[in-house]
């Protein structure tokens, strides 16, 4: 018996024009398919690499290792206060320009200029080459020709993105109506940041799958609720309040009555004392808005708890009812592995009690992520076995179906466009 209304078409899946047949996961196990994804998706789409709060003033910079796109970028706030990105490579002999101690590790800081560790070439914050050691030894070196190689860098709602495709559409267009409808959320007020990182032995899409459906929550995370509540959750199952698709992006809106719970006996003792838990701190801080932006709680439901947005390909924003948010990023490192980043953003706590309330929300997130991550490795190993090759997805898994459909379309289009005469054999995936 449906608890929440579905579209008149009967199902969310059909409403978004997706087919309902079982889905092949060949797109998540094939090394050749993954190599095409790198070219077709990760070198062509806007990738979120950070937030403006990480660039608080002129000269502030951070590096990002984009293995999936085969490069490292340095993002810096220039003299005019505008963020810029460059390939992190010195124009002289190709040394990585910005790094500390370990060339493969990301770094950040504040500087007036970039100086290469190798031969001391220097670049200003706009990327221009400003100093060459023993310049007279070079042959007709025109310094204006040897600036850092720029990478497209644009900002949406304080989130800093890069794009390796110079012909890509502007970021604001890429984010679409779905982005526009949440852009006014005061993301900049949440400056208390906890960031987690995990190496996960699964294809990047599989972890997004896990976070774009809550069908698994009453089962996999059963023990995280007290026994009686857990039984009730499993009986009822999960139905979302709303799903939406906007081009390549998608979202799921869910109920969440746990912050605060209807009955405090539903939650664990530590949650009762700290008035906090998975859904966040029960006492929502003031974030200075009268009403939510139109993209949040799209069903207008009083039981609303959380909206999860996936901005294709690998950036998720989760906005929770009690005024906090978190982001997920999935950075592929192979067809069967990726690095997961989960970052929690809170309004800065003012006293020790508020700090502990946030700590409980953070640690709860980590306990769930540990369960989710390990389950994925179990999934990856068995879809790789090939013993079963298609899988039935239910209507509450519509966002997974959408993600895999969009990602496969990028790959198929790329293959058609680049190899018209002798198509690359990725038939298993398409």
């Amino acid at each position: 018996m449906a608890k929440f209304a579905k579209p008149a078409d009967g199902s969310w899946t059909e409403h978004f024009g997706l087919d309902t047949a079982p889905v092949s996961y060949a797109d998540s196990i094939d090394p050749a398919h993954y190599e095409v994804e790198r070219e077709a998706i990760f070198k062509k789409t806007w990738l979120n690499v950070g937030r403006m709060e990480q660039l608080p003033r002129t000269g502030a910079y951070f590096t990002r290792e984009l293995d999936v796109a085969g490069t490292s970028v340095v993002v810096v706030r220039d003299s005019a206060g505008t963020p810029r990105a460059f390939h992190n490579v010195c124009r002289h002999r190709g040394n990585k320009l910005v790094w500390q101690d370990y060339p493969r590790e990301e770094t950040s800081g504040v500087c007036r200029q970039f100086t290469c560790k190798y031969h001391g070439w220097r670049y200003d914050l706009e990327g221009a080459l400003t100093f060459v050691q023993q310049q007279k030894e070079f042959f007709d070196l025109d310094m204006s020709e040897f600036g850092l190689v720029p990478v497209r860098c644009e900002v949406w709602a304080g989130f800093v993105f890069v794009n390796l495709d110079d012909d890509a559409q502007p970021l604001v267009d890429y984010m679409g109506q779905m982005g526009a409808d949440i852009a006014d959320y005061p993301f900049e007020k949440f400056t208390q940041v906890h960031k987690y990182r995990a190496e996960v032995g699964s294809n990047w899409k599989l972890f997004i799958d896990a976070f774009m459906e809550f069908y698994h929550a009453p089962v996999l995370h059963a023990k995280q609720a007290v026994d009686e509540e857990s039984r009730k959750l499993q009986e009822v199952g999960f139905e979302a309040l709303w799903y939406d698709v906007d081009g390549d992006h998608g979202m799921v809106s869910s109920w969440g009555g746990m912050a605060p719970p209807k009955d405090e006996n539903m939650v664990k003792p530590i949650e009762r004392v700290l008035r906090s838990g998975l859904f966040g701190v029960w006492d929502a801080p003031d974030i200075g808005i009268e009403e939510l932006p139109p993209g949040l709680n799209p069903a207008g439901h009083k039981a609303w708890g959380i909206d999860s947005f996936l901005f294709f390909p690998n950036f998720m924003i989760l906005v929770w009812k009690p005024n906090w948010y978190l982001t997920y990023h999935y950075w592929p490192t192979g067809e069967g592995s990726h690095i997961f980043e989960g970052t929690l953003y809170f309004v800065p706590p003012t006293n020790a009690y508020e700090r502990l309330q946030q700590e409980l929300a953070v640690v709860t997130f980590k306990e769930y992520a540990l369960q989710d991550g390990n389950t994925l490795e179990a999934t990856q190993s068995m879809i790789t076995s090939g013993a079963v090759d298609t899988f039935p997805l239910c209507d509450q898994e519509v966002m997974l179906r959408h993600l895999h459909t969009v990602a496969r379309r990028y790959v198929d289009d790329h293959v058609k466009a680049t190899a018209p005469e002798s198509p690359v054999s990725i038939s298993a995936a398409s």
């Binding site: 940041v193 960031k195 003792p269 004392v273 003012t350 369960q371």
Partner: protein, 108 residues
Amino acid sequence: MSVLPAAFADLEEFADWALPSEGDRYAKRLASTMDELQHFYDVAFPRLTESTDYLKSVPLEGISDEDRNLLWLFSSLVTVSFPVEVWRQPRVPESGAASVDVVVEPVP
């Protein structure tokens, strides 16, 4: 030598739980037996329950070393509450060799 505010002298035996990083707190949980975790919880949890008004009166700005240690100790109690209240073992069940590591965290 005491590291906690005088009113919390009874928690001094757990001073080695006053760790500023969540990664260290979690590692200490995994390195402890359930008996050790249960003992810490049994003593510290009632003290957290009766100290919420005190903790609300401690501003983070300019926090003293003793109050900061108390904050880290109770942060450890948060991590220890999972094995004691739910898992009955130090590690998250079904988490195998998975690890999720903190890379950025506020101080405090």
